[in-house]
Every structure is written in C-alpha cells, then in structure tokens.
Symmetry: C3
Subunit: 203 residues, 3 copies
C-alpha cells in the first residue's frame, strides 16, 4: 500500500486546500480556516468510523492527517493570492483525493463486515464526499455534491466497482482500479462540462 | 408486527417524497434529490442507532428502506408536477410516518436499555423528526420542526405515552396507541391550524 | 469535584440561555427555543461521547443537564426582554461554561484512553464549543466560533495546558487550572476586543 499512502497524502492536502480556500472566501479567522481544512480532509473518515462503530475514529487515534491539514491550511493562509492560479492543481488533486478516500472507505467497510452493496457504497461515498459536505454545511452553502456535477456519482460508480472487484481481484488491484475509475470519470466530466439533469432541465 | 411493517413502508415512502419534493424545489440534480429522499427517510433512525451505540445502524445492515427511498425519489422525479396536487396525501402519510417512526424509536431505545423518560422521548423524537431536520439543514432551511407547528410536540406526547403504556400493555398495543395518538394530534393541528406560541405571539 | 459540579451547572445554564435567546431572535416557537437550549448545553458532550465510543452518551443516561436546560429555556421565554440587559452575565457565565466543559471533555478523553495531544484537544474543544456550533448550524448562522473571536482558541490553549498538567498535577488541580486559563483568556479578549486575524486583515 506504499503508493496508495502517497495518494492518501495528496488527497488529504487537496481536501485541506479546498477547505482553507473556502474559509478564506467566507472571511473566517485563521482558526476557522484551519478548522475547515481539518474537517474537510478528515470529516468523511470520522463520519464513516462512527457509522461502522470504529470508535474512537482513526483520525483521532493517529492524528497524522490532522497535522498535515493544519500545515496545509497555514501555507494556504500565508501564500494564497487568487483562486484561479491554483484551480487546475486543485481539481486534479481533489479528483485523486475523491478516488483514494472512496476506495479506503469501501475497504474499511468490507473489513468491518459490510456485506451488501448499498452499505459499502454508502461508506465509500461518505468517506469520499462527507468531509466536503460538512465543510459546506458549516459555511452555509448547500453542499455542492447535491448540485449539478458528476462528483458523488463518480464516487458511487467507483465504490460499486470496488464491491464487485473485491471478490475477484487482490485487494490492492481493486483499490487502484476504484481510484482510477473515479479519477477518470471526475476529470472527464470537468473537462467536457458534463452535468446530471436537474428537474427543470429534464422537463 | 405485520400491520406496523406496512405502516413503516408508508412512512418511509412519505418521508422520501417530502425529501424528493424539497430537492426539486431547491433545484438539486437527480443525485441530490435521491440523496435527500434517502436521508429524510433513514436519517432519523441512523442518528438514533449511533446515539444508542447500535452500530452499524440498521439502515445499513438491511438497506430495504434505502432501496424504497431510491425508487420513490425516481418516481417523484419523473412524475412530479405541482406540489399542491400531492399535498393532502403527503400530509396524511407524513403524519403516519411520524407516528410509526416515533413508536419504533421508543421501542428500540427501551429494548437497548433506556430507562428514563427523557432518553426514550429523545430517541422517539430523533427517529421521528431527525431525518427531516437533516434534510432541512442540508438545503439551508431552518428545520421546520423548530418553527411554529405541532409536529415535534405530537412526537413528544406520543413518545411519553409509549413510555407509560409500555409497563402496562403488551408491546404491540403500546406501539399502535403511540402511532394513533401522534397521528390524531398532528392531523388535528393541521386541520385547525393550531400552532405553538413563538416569543412575539406570547407577549 | 463538588465545586466543579457547581461550575458545571453554571455552564449548563449559561449555554442554555444563549441557545434560548438565539431561538427567540430567530422567531422559533416555544418547542424550538427549548430544543435549541438543550442542544447548546448538552450537544457538545453528546458529540464527544459518540466520538470516543461512550454510547449511550452521558447526557441521555443521566438527563439532569437536559432538565436544567428545559427550565432555563422556559424562564428565558417568559422573562426575556432585551438582550443588552443580560449581556454581561451571559458573557461571564458563558466563559465559565467554556472552561468547565473543555476541562471535562479533556478529562473524559484521557480516562477513555486518549494519549495524543490532538485527540485530547479535539475532545475538549468539541465538548466546549460543539453545542454552540450545532446551535448555529440549526438556525443557519455560520458558527460564530469560526469567525473572528478568541473563543475556540481559548478552549484549545486550555486543553493543551490540561494535557501537560495532567501528568504532573493531581487531576482536580489540572481541571481548575484549565478552567481558569480559559476563563481569563476569554474574558480578557472580550474586554480588550482582541480578535484573530482573518485573511484580509493579515494582508
């Protein structure tokens, strides 16, 4: 899992950046910005651990991710200038983070005894998008995953694939395939601006 | 519990409809609408299970309610026209759902060892209104149960009755009485437009 | 812990008042006001107990705090006139509550096996400010602890001190020192209007 751990750090940093940037835009103080960065990167995993009964959650027992997020937030706070400058890097690393966190969520759920697809998908999804949802609720945005973008859907498709792959392939292969599928769907949807239908659009 | 299970399905469908309709009004995409439907119908029970330490929550171990909610959301998405058309059906089935979910919440709490009235009421209430509160927080409404309507109060009164009935009657009778009391209070308050006092009104 | 229990009651009442007053300002009904009072005073502890796996949370097993909060909310509802009249009392008792709840949160975390500073601080912080955050999310405010005030920071510094004191001093001394440090930092920052830098200010 060596390479995956690298990816996990990239995902943590990417999620922390997105939290810190939104905190700056919402005019929070330096504590609020750091808090939002931590919540975005570890919130999904904490939520998943509470659901599956894995308490205290890994994020507290081993605070590496929180420490990475704190450093990331401080770097963003002192060096941030304009959103547009970072945008491409953020989108790519965020897609990577979505893939890695979803894969980890699915794996954790299966190891802890989850045996139906909906449970596994729900845990992959909540690990992947939960942190971002908490971030958006805290700063009074309607969580953007509920709006029109192929973000949650990428996570769901990847999680479903993981659920099926897991019976047939070695674990490490399933993890990488899940990551790769999510990354490709997400990046493709951003590049070609593909959205899910809302009610008005569908009519 | 055969009949109660029918009621439970009705409650699940009613709650899923209310989530889907609010999702449409808030212009969410098809994923967001479905997600809101699931959260509204199973969110309260998940919250209760986390509180009493029943992890993983029933809703994940047995995903029937989630599947019903997904189908309900899709039907609403494709056939919804105007809120007014459905309003009467929604209010009646929602009142039924409130009753059933509160009763189930109280029963679960007592079975898991809750022995004081406040704990039992809190679990009945969170099962009954928790899903709707999470739905409202996600789409940035102040939860409507906190505003002026006899909704949470119906659930609380029913839960308190259940707590006392449970010592004297067979379980199944307590469950039905709790449901019936909540249903009657809720429907009566809607029909005669009875509200709780807010601060200004009381002055 | 006799004196601390007095402080705990003061903190509970202070937090319940802040919840009730915000409920009145947001035009909630009497149920919503009471609910907000309860959530503000016991929400942080419930959140902490869920995280550390102490289910059902203490607040449900022993509902004293909830009962105190209900009475407090009713008193506020019937006797409240203007925010300004109470402001000084609220600020002082709220600072006391922040100190007491943070100290209790840290102690609970350590007793339950937390052994790294970030975990202990996170539990102190969530016990101290968690209730207020849930209150603010429910009524659609961006949680004020994320904005510019030395509030969360006071809790964090106190928690960090507790973590170090705990190894060297008797428990009761650590608890009082933690409380006192938080109280002094909080009151000083209000008196001299000291804030944390936000992004614009720092530039």
């Amino acid at each position: 899992m060596f390479l995956l751990n690298y990816f996990e750090i990239i995902g943590t940093v990417a999620f922390a950046i997105s939290g810190a940037v939104i905190g700056i835009e919402k005019k929070l103080d330096i504590f609020g910005i750091t808090f939002l960065a931590i919540v975005t990167s570890v919130g999904g995993g904490i939520f998943r651990d509470i659901i599956i009964g894995n308490t205290p959650p890994t994020a507290f027992v081993n605070p590496t991710s929180s420490i990475i997020s704190i450093f990331t937030a401080l770097v963003v706070f002192f060096f941030y200038e304009k959103k547009s400058k970072f945008e491409k890097i953020i989108i790519i690393s965020d897609a990577l983070g979505l893939g890695v966190f979803t894969a980890i969520g699915c794996r954790t759920a299966i190891i802890r005894g989850a045996d139906n697809a909906i449970f596994v998908i729900a845990m992959g999804l909540s690990t992947g998008v939960g942190g971002g949802m908490i971030r958006d609720i805290l700063v009074e945005n309607v969580p953007f995953v509920l709006k029109r973008e192929i973000y949650a859907l990428a996570s769901i498709i990847g999680a479903l694939c993981f659920f099926f792959f897991y019976s047939y392939f070695p674990e490490i292969i399933s993890l990488y395939l899940c990551c790769a599928i999510i990354f490709i769907i997400r990046i493709t949807s951003v590049k070609y601006n593909i959205n899910l239908p809302a009610f008005k659009n569908w009519k």
